[in-house]
Symmetry: none
Subunit: 237 residues, 4 copies
DNA sequence: GATGAATGAGTATTCATTCAT
DNA sequence: TATGAATGAATACTCATTCAT
């Protein structure tokens, strides 16, 4: 086994949690569809790992959710660790793909940046599964992400997009000169991540629900404001 | 058990994770010291829970680290859940206490705000234990923080400090008018938290170490910049 | 879990404690037989619970006796409590089934009654397992018997038999008029139960072995005498 | 240690569960009363062992009930086994003493017998503690009763009383000739014991409460009837 | 490909008992 | 006499993984 690897083998068509297969007739069908079975397992695993973390996740629950036998998981994915790797990579793929749906060239650079921020905010806020999976992976010291060859690969286009936007904004003199794309992404991520990742402890602290639609709508505006205030700051050091 | 409770019983002198007592000579000394034993367990638990999360933590490891028998944990803390509650509350107490060491009245409001940001940044970056504990608690849906009576209590002074700073800055016309203290704290936390919480996945993405002193020093300046740009933005919405 | 339930799932062919399968060749035979495994566990559990009571029983000993892995018990029976329920129900089934082997209609009512008494006496005296299981269940306040749906169900035919016998004896004017079937059964049970249930304390009191065949044979006659004297008493109150 | 022994050391004045000592001022009294402390422990132990059986009983609960420290139990009674022996002997002493309060010589032998039956019935029915203790001891194969020197000793007067009654009844030709005192006692005990010992399983079987006062009153009459029918049976074999 | 019976190593928790003070 | 901190052995239960069919 190499230093890094990818667990994503067959092309997974459609990353959403919907199972397009004729779900209930499967049992009696006799012969099953290997690709569909693998996909069902993967989707069940993504949900389970996001919900319970790696060590809290149960192979049995994944089997029940995917309606497969225990052996199938070992047949298709080898073991719990590699199944988790596959789930992690698939999750990253969803957000990275979505980011690439933005058009960074045509629009006004400020609008392009705003669109990226809003996409990130919405993606993380709408479905906490991804945030939970990332949090769990970090609690495990990123030992699985390190094994992945595809994760750094998927990051390139994102960085390229940000750099394109920044370059255009700086050229047009609406952005500060010395903004670093990586750092900017970290800031955006931090501002879009925290109320999802820390939703429950913040609720205990402030006795308020940080998933309330009204609060989220207002918060979304603030996050955009914080980033754009900074990036357009004329006094920029 | 009632709605909320606190697991912090005896006054714990010195909340840092360092054990000032001559740890290894205890066994032979024949001294029985309930308070010290309890404190040793608590500190070991804080480290273990931060390192491995709740379900990944092992009672046996805590025992070994605290150099006590298994039964002592159950004698002093009841069970793993309540030990975890005590560790969580103690951890919160450390940062909340430190925040209160700042003087919010005397200084220039911008400097006061900057000091709070830097304190938060440094506290979270220097020792990832707190961040990890909070992340784990959120992965568990905050079910333990909810049981705590002291956590919301400890938050009051922090909010009061922020409001005091904001009021003075607005009075002196250096801050925007419509900044909400709660939202401001969430922004600060997000910016100071993300490179610690997501250290490992960000490393996989960007192939760089986000705990490097140089990077941290630069990031610290940026975080202050982001917040102050926003809060002093003359175009304030 | 609902109010009452039954733990008896697959039909257990042959309720005696004997294991008809070639027990020790199973391991090497490579055969996987769920029904037989379940049955082996159940029989081992009946013996263990009878021998040591519920809390004194050890899951490990049941495993060893049934020659199965610990996990199998939890796979087939859920937990210690439910395994105990299954053992209790199976034990009751044995005596209730045996009672139904008597023919209450054809014989002389006095002979029919005598047969029931003797069957009860012999069943309880021959194998103390059942008595011990019942004693233990009562020490636990019958909390498990209460959960069983089958125990009251199995009692009906017994009561019906007794009532049939009584009715015929009263019709033929050999029995007292006002004998209550339930109370009669309690008397019979008390007279057949005590020297088994209290065997050891009675031995300490009277310094004699109450399981000696000679004593039992004599006692059997006396018990029949006591009941028939009462039931045929012409001075019946 | 000898083959048999007695754990009853200091004379226990008053075997009822009442603690005649000034209960609540004890804590502040400083110096305590050794005899009273021992007695408090013994009474708490009798209740605990009757309630939970030997292995279900907890030293800590006994301590709490007796309001003493753990060490006191080991100081006064050595260990759990010996405390249990003391509790068992004390319990037997209560019923044996009560039996001796009957006057077997003056009364009509049938009335004397009836009085003994009723005393036994009432004693066992009124307080199930004794029955539970005996049941538990038998489940433990009487291993503790065997160690007791006082239990067989206390049985002599009971047997003597029964023999006296029987002899007078046979002399007066109201009793059968061939009644054995020991066997008669076993019958009486069985009839008086069963609805207490098997209260809960009988309740599950017959769906009725066997501790109901009305049922008990009726049952008491029946038990007397059963015994006297037998003993006065003219057809006595 | 698919099933589910079987395994074994681990893990939180309990509890009688000891012992320094 | 009395206290309660400390010990260690035991015990029910979990779970990823294997393997015969």
């Amino acid at each position: 086994m190499k230093a890094t690897r990818s667990a994503a083998a067959p092309p997974e068509e459609g990353h959403t949690a919907s199972s397009p297969a004729p779900a209930k007739s499967r049992r009696t069908a006799g012969k099953r569809n290997a690709v569909a079975t693998r996909q069902r397992i993967l989707e069940a695993a993504m949900a389970e790992f996001a919900e319970h973390g790696f060590s809290g996740s149960r192979i049995d629950r994944i089997c029940a959710a995917a309606d497969v036998n225990v052996g199938m998981i070992y047949h298709y994915f080898g073991n719990k660790n590699d199944l988790y790797l596959a789930a992690l990579e698939s999750s990253y793929k969803i957000i990275r793909d979505r980011e690439q749906s933005l058009d960074v060239n045509d629009a006004d650079p400020l609008l392009a940046l705003r669109a990226l921020i809003e996409l990130t905010f919405d993606f993380l806020s709408t479905d906490p599964h991804f945030v939970r999976l990332i949090m769990n992976e970090n609690l495990m010291m990123g030992r699985t992400a390190q094994r992945s060859a595809t994760i750094p690969h998927m990051t390139r286009p994102l960085l390229d997009s940000l750099r394109t936007i920044l370059k255009r904004g700086q050229k047009e003199k609406v952005f500060q000169k010395n903004i670093d794309a990586e750092n900017l992404y970290v800031s955006i991520l931090g501002l879009c991540f925290i109320h999802v990742s820390n939703r429950h402890t913040l609720s205990s602290m402030f006795q308020r629900d940080f998933a309330e639609p009204d609060w989220l709508a207002q918060r979304r505006l603030i996050v955009v404001d914080v980033v754009t205030s900074y990036i357009t700051d004329k006094a920029g050091k």
